[in-house]
């Protein structure tokens, strides 16, 4: 279980997150929604150890991991698929995949990645940075399958992917969840995210405005919260 407890965090002198608490229970999918600049990426950075919170705690399976480095959190089973292209551009696809796996489990990890994304299997020797934007995004996403993570944090992973591939990815995510892996999902495809989520959080200007089950949220509540009054008028 991943618990982000009363976290306040930001950059320099700007506070981005104000006293945010999010819990990801074992084997469940939590969707985190909110407008641009709400602090979703910042929250995932805190959860993965890239950013140390100013106050509050980060708890993984009962152990306090506040201030732990990203590699320490990875060994606790927390895996972030970052926003943008989370790959090593000058390495080949095969080498990229190799680094996603724990030492010693490279072969099985590679197999899983190839099953998930056949495109990658055909391009193992290509330099990752020369692949198309979407192909790079698939490679980044393969991290979630190839490794043996227990909690996967996904930051807008469907960005820049063709509609058909987006469908495939959500199918994968559902499968991942079925295997008992917890997911914390930041997504721009709201209804797709809601469809696989057990819980939904709405983040607005760094504070949680709603936490609950998807059924509790009507379309109009999301619209009002998510888009803001200005957008509804537009």
């Amino acid at each position: 279980m991943l618990r982000i407890d009363a976290v306040t965090a930001g950059y320099g002198h700007t506070t981005v997150l104000h006293d945010v608490t999010v819990v990801v229970p074992d084997g469940s999918v939590v969707a985190m929604l909110g407008p641009n600049g709400a602090g979703k990426t910042t929250l995932l950075r805190v959860a993965s150890g890239l950013l140390v919170p100013w106050s509050g705690r980060l708890i993984v399976d009962g152990t306090d991991a506040t201030g732990a480095s990203p590699h320490r959190l990875r060994s606790l089973g927390v895996c972030l698929v970052p926003e943008g292209r989370g790959i090593f551009p000058s390495l080949t696809v095969r080498e990229n995949l190799r680094l996603c796996c724990r030492a010693g489990q490279e072969t099985s990890g590679l197999e899983r990645a190839r099953e998930s994304f056949p495109v990658l299997g055909k391009r193992l020797e290509q330099i990752a940075g020369t692949m198309s934007g979407g192909e790079q995004q698939m490679l980044a996403l393969a991290r979630a399958y190839a490794g043996d993570a227990r909690v996967v944090l996904l930051d807008e992973v469907s960005m820049g992917l063709a509609p058909k591939v987006v469908d495939e990815i959500f199918a994968f995510l559902a499968r991942l969840a079925a295997e008992g892996i917890s997911l914390l999902l930041v997504e721009q495809y709201v209804s797709k995210a809601m469809a696989i989520a057990d819980y939904v959080c709405l983040l607005d200007r760094g504070a949680l405005s709603f936490v609950g089950e998807p059924a509790e949220l009507s379309e109009s509540t999301i619209l009002a919260n998510y888009l803001g009054a200005e957008a509804v008028g537009a």
Partner: protein
């Protein structure tokens, strides 16, 4: 053929070691993105350690070799990693400054401890291992060839097949992603630096018996390695190794062929630079796949409020006007100091606004000084003094263009390397020629007829310096300055917006070379006569490091730097001049460490291990908060 054989054997042994040094350098460059100018200095340190252990203390050689390599490799690796950690993903300019500082510091330390005279050392492996076509091959030569080849192959296999090797190549791409993958990037980087430093140390130990123990000679060994690295296109280990061998054999054969010709005597020694230069031009290395990070040093100028600025300006002006009354007989030092302000401003223009690095500004100064002497003196063209001054500046421009145009298209690092190669080439081949300092090694430069007294000359020099400073400030504030700041971060954006990217870079480089030439000329006029020694290739390195230490503000840093270089020695003990390299190199390193510590202390609340670029993340933070 048989009379060439001895040269080939000698060349093979030397070339193997150049290759070995080059391989270590390529390794650390491809894995950390930092090009280590201090590589040769580490080799020198290891060589000295080895001979202390082996010769002075009488340790058996295998133990002494192992100790020197392991100790220098491990210590060097730790130090370099720590010092470069926060620049490793920043721009190449910061990397060059830091490692050049480190190079001067290590070299200075060795010289301070062991003295500057060359010690001859006996080969530690006695005897010969055999004969090839009647040529005896010494055990020392065999050892060099075998060890270099084995180490290269071993490293190549390690990098390609082991997980740590893959991690090393990954850390340079995106270190926080590696962190997210569960590997500690600092540990991976340290491992890379330790291996690289061990290669340097091994080179030093093996090459000292051929070269003798001389700190600056061994430090310059790195330049042979630069040539090899350029042949390897900055990434291929086997090609780098082959490049080293080619340079070694080529230089040995050249030595035989140029034999008696005095004109060409400098050629063998200059070969590595020619190779470096030609390799960069003919076979340009591909751009690194990772995103070029922006010019970090360029944006952190301290913005003083206008009033304070005006106040500081008035105080400085008053002080300068009063100088002749205050300093008495030491006035000429201040006059040459004013000349150096121009040299430093020209360098600051280049480094601070465009993130490009020149390591040949001393050579530009030398060309300015000698051509000024030719244009102005009665034995030369005897042109009017000011006209001669401007022409001296212009004389440097085509030279600067020849060095810069090929390299400038590539990257800041390649420009730095090309200019460094050029500086050494000039020093070895052009300085002694009649065109420059000539057989006497000395050139006389006249004072203007209207300012023959010390005081008048001082004011004339200061006036020119002030005009140059004004010009540089204007340049940085207008379009060119803005374009250069943009170029430092996203050349692609400007390119697709219609800017011919090379033009902006060449324009600023040409202006900088022009001003450096004028500065050199004024220095010559101030001292009356100049020799090549004032403009040696190491001086360019010193300039860069002093400028980095002198602060971030454009003009004040240039003034402080000129005072530290040219004026301070008149008031300080001799040791200061002797150990300038050590002092400023050391200060650079300490400053780099201190700044990072300070940044961390200020933001104890945020230890942002952020994004792909820690330095940038910090800068953005501080930018956002001011």
């Amino acid at each position: 053929m048989t009379d060439l054989l001895p040269f080939i054997v000698v060349g093979l042994a030397a070339g193997s070691l150049y290759g070995l040094a080059g391989v270590g350098l390529t390794l650390t460059y491809t894995t950390t993105g930092v090009f280590n100018f201090a590589h040769g200095a580490l080799a020198a340190a290891a060589a000295f350690v080895f001979f202390t252990l082996h010769v002075d203390w009488g340790w058996p050689w295998p133990l002494a070799v192992a100790t020197a390599v392991v100790v220098v490799g491990a210590l060097g690796g730790l130090v370099v990693e720590r010092v470069t950690r926060n620049v490793s993903e920043a721009d190449s300019a910061a990397g060059v400054v830091v490692t050049v500082g480190l190079m001067l510091a290590v070299q200075g330390l060795v010289q301070w401890h062991y003295g500057v005279t060359t010690r001859q050392v006996a080969p530690f492996l006695a005897g010969t291992t055999g004969h090839i076509g009647g040529v005896a091959v010494t055990a020392q030569q065999t050892a060099a060839i075998v060890i270099a080849a084995a180490a290269t192959v071993g490293l190549f296999v390690f990098l390609r097949t082991s997980r740590l090797g893959t991690e090393m190549r990954a850390v340079v791409d995106n270190s926080s992603l590696l962190d997210l993958n569960g590997s500690n990037p600092n540990r991976v980087r340290t491992a890379a630096w330790m291996i690289g430093s061990s290669f340097a140390a091994l080179t030093g130990v093996l090459i000292a018996p051929f070269l003798g123990l001389d700190a600056s000679l061994l430090t310059l060994l790195v330049v042979q390695a630069f040539g090899a690295v350029a042949v390897g296109r900055f990434r291929s280990l086997p090609l780098t190794y082959a490049g080293g061998i080619a340079i070694g054999v080529g230089a040995a054969l050249l030595t035989k062929w140029v034999g008696g010709h005095t004109v060409l005597a400098g050629l063998p020694a200059a070969l590595p630079f020619l190779v470096l230069f030609l390799a960069l031009v003919i076979w340009p290395p591909p751009a690194l796949a990772r995103q070029a990070a922006g010019g970090v040093s360029t944006r952190r100028t301290i913005a003083m409020p206008l009033k304070a600025k005006a106040g500081a300006g008035i105080v400085t002006a008053a002080l300068v006007i009063a100088v002749p009354r205050l300093v008495g007989a030491k006035l000429p030092t201040f006059t040459s100091g004013a000349g150096f302000v121009i040299v430093f401003v020209s360098l600051a223009l280049l480094v601070r606004t465009s993130g490009q690095i020149s390591l040949c500004h001393a050579s530009f100064g030398a060309v300015g000084a000698t051509s000024f002497a030719y244009f102005a003196s009665s034995s030369g063209l005897h042109l009017p003094w000011f006209l001669a001054l401007v022409l001296a500046g212009l004389a440097v421009v085509p030279l600067g263009a020849v060095v810069a145009i090929p390299a400038i298209r590539l990257s800041g690092l390649h420009l730095a390397l090309a200019t460094f190669g050029f500086a050494i080439l000039m020093e070895r081949v052009a300085y002694p020629s009649a065109l420059m300092f000539g057989a006497l090694g000395l050139r006389r430069a006249p004072r203007p007829s209207f300012a023959t007294g010390d005081t008048q000359l001082f004011y004339v020099t200061v006036a020119v310096a002030a005009a140059v400073c004004g010009l540089v400030v204007v340049i940085t504030r207008t379009r060119l300055g803005r374009l250069l700041r943009g170029l430092a971060e996203s050349p692609l954006a400007l390119n697709t917006n219609g800017l011919n990217v090379s033009v902006a870079r060449i324009v600023v480089f040409a202006i900088s070379a022009f001003l450096a030439g004028i500065g050199g000329a004024l220095f010559a006029a101030a001292t009356g006569s100049v020799n090549g020694h004032s403009f040696g290739s190491f001086n360019s390195l010193l300039y860069l490091v002093i400028l980095a230490v002198a602060g971030r503000a454009l003009i004040p840093s240039a003034i402080v730097a000129a005072v530290a270089l040219a004026v301070a020695p008149a008031y300080l003990p001799n040791a200061f001049v002797e150990y300038q390299g050590l002092i400023f190199g050391f200060t650079t390193v300490v400053l780099v460490l201190a700044t990072t510590v300070r940044v961390n202390a200020r933001s104890t609340r945020v230890v942002a291990r952020l994004g792909a670029n820690p330095v940038r993340a910090r800068l953005v933070e501080s930018g956002a908060s001011t």
